[in-house]
């Protein structure tokens, strides 16, 4: 099996200005934050970010790299509203594709299955259909004749996910309680990159979890990055919980541009190794 290990920088180099980038995880949970930090360092801009949004969205809004955000929600979980995302929305500086969470999933599913769209009732009667005029409906071809929302396939140029364990070939394992939609992000993307807390031999993949935890297989990813602490400051159980104190510090910087610049200089304009050293307890 080919060795797909690479650096964060190698992976992020695949992202160019204007691309559509999918980010796995959920809210402030198992987010591929090392990739997000690498995106910040790369300076790539005009991105469309597709995410069950958390600090990944907030950071890329605060740096001005996100031109458009496709989301069902953006939340830090223990802090319900993502303050940097709010700033960007309230300033009108980021374009929003605000979907129902289930609609969002179906967009990824349609892309993963190579379909143009998937039908659903979610969205009918709501302002999602008004605020997103690109959405169309489709009439059932059967006797029921029901008019349904046709969720367009959400293709991604690049997807990033973070797993607890992976091998060098790109087989990935989550050891927490929720897979989220990470495999859909990978299958919806032209290229997908996975970071992991630990890179282990393939033969050891079942040491810590059953075969059902092997949600990501090597067909789904083009690159694997060893990134211990790669989800920090979001949670990545059982390896670590959310760093609530750090998340509070991050959230507080949304109130003051100078505080944000200081935070960015200290934690984002530095290498991943320096970041991990700065946040080590």
């Amino acid at each position: 099996m080919a060795d797909k290990t690479m650096t964060l920088e190698d992976a992020v180099a695949e992202v160019r200005d204007g691309m559509t980038v999918g980010i796995g995880g959920w809210g402030s949970r198992r987010k591929p934050m090392a990739f997000v930090r690498a995106l910040v360092r790369s300076g790539v801009k005009d991105l469309t970010i597709v995410s069950y949004g958390g600090p990944d969205v907030g950071i890329l809004c605060a740096t001005g790299q996100a031109k458009k955000v496709v989301y069902g929600f953006v939340s830090l979980d223990s802090i319900p509203l993502e303050p940097h995302f709010r700033n960007a929305r309230q300033a009108g500086t980021v374009e929003a594709v605000s979907l129902d969470e289930g609609m969002f999933r179906l967009g990824l599913q349609a892309a993963a299955w190579r379909l143009p769209f998937l039908p659903t009732r979610a969205g009918l009667g709501s302002d999602v259909m008004i605020n997103q005029p690109q959405l169309r409906t489709v009439k059932s071809p059967y006797d029921d004749g029901e008019e349904l929302v046709a969720i367009p396939a959400q293709r991604l140029d690049v997807a990033f996910i973070h797993m607890n364990r992976a091998d060098t070939a790109g087989n990935g394992q989550y050891l927490g309680r929720d897979p989220y939609m990470d495999e859909l992000f990978c299958m919806a993307a032209d290229k997908a990159f996975m970071s992991a807390e630990k890179i282990i031999p393939t033969a050891n993949l079942l040491d810590e979890g059953s075969f059902q935890t092997l949600k990501i297989n090597r067909m789904m990813v083009q690159g694997v990055v060893h990134a211990p602490g790669g989800a920090h400051f979001t949670e990545c159980p059982p390896d670590y919980e959310r760093d609530e104190a750090f998340q509070k510090e991050y959230a507080a910087t949304a109130k003051d541009p100078a505080a944000w610049e200081a935070f960015k200089a200290k934690y984002l304009d530095v290498s991943e190794a320096e970041y991990q050293k700065a946040v080590a307890k």
């Binding site: 953006v74 605000s98 289930g102 609609m103 009732r121 009667g125 605020n131 029901e146 309680r177």
Partner: protein, 229 residues
């Protein structure tokens, strides 16, 4: 499956499970279906897990329709349209960005939905919501019959009253006022015209047995903090 989204809603759901609805299915608020009630503010890690409900399965269950969700809302209007997406301004540039529509559009057309509002006032109960996330009866009425077949906004429960939509045109109706609250109090705190029956009962108070359960299920009084008194 019962999906309460706040401490008060969760406490109510647990009381129901403890008393008249023992077969209710409920999660820990995250990914595990728990076979027993876990009192608010206590550690759920020792509770018996009876099943798995990660987020992908939540959507499956939601679309399936075997779910009653009790959500909150920053605004709810007279037909039960609900908003938790943004307030004021325009969609392109809202004055106050909130969560986004979350699962509200899908929830409301796929299964029963109720709302809990801990602070009943005219800025929350408004004539028209700034963004329809959860779909109300006027919007649902315009949909294909099959699309609205599972639509039901069952109850709106606030710190002042219980409200429902059991009227000919599905406008919000005052179902009962809580002890110590008058009909006029509710009218004054509501930003639109409620349907007021000629005789408005007082909300039932918990029995001694139910009070004992409530104390047991919320030993720290967490739910009370969600209610404006």
């Amino acid at each position: 499956m019962c999906s309460p989204m706040s401490p008060v809603s969760k406490l109510g759901a647990m009381l129901a499970r403890a008393t008249f609805e023992p077969d209710m299915v409920m999660t820990d608020g995250a990914n595990m279906i728990l076979a027993e009630n876990v009192p608010l503010g206590t550690d759920p890690s020792t509770a018996t897990i009876e099943g798995w409900m990660p987020f992908p399965f939540v959507f499956d269950t939601l679309f399936w329709g075997k779910r009653h969700v009790m959500m909150g809302g920053s605004q709810v209007d007279q037909y039960g349209n609900q908003n938790l997406a943004y307030l004021g301004g325009t969609f392109k540039q809202p004055k106050t960005q909130l969560l986004g529509v979350r699962g509200a559009p899908g929830n409301t057309v796929c299964h029963t939905t109720s709302y809990f509002l801990g602070d009943h006032n005219p800025r929350v109960l408004v004539p028209k919501v700034d963004c329809v996330a959860g779909v109300g009866y006027d919007r649902a009425a315009k949909l294909h019959p099959a699309s609205r077949a599972r639509h039901e906004i069952r109850r709106v429960i606030t710190n002042l009253a219980v409200l429902d939509f059991e009227t000919p045109d599905n406008r919000m109706r005052l179902r009962s006022v809580h002890p110590g609250v008058s009909v006029d109090d509710v009218v004054a705190a509501t930003g639109f015209e409620l349907v007021i029956p000629s005789d408005v009962p007082v909300s039932r108070e918990p029995t001694a047995d139910e009070l004992a359960w409530l104390r047991k299920l919320d030993p720290k009084g967490i739910a009370a903090r969600e209610v404006k008194s």
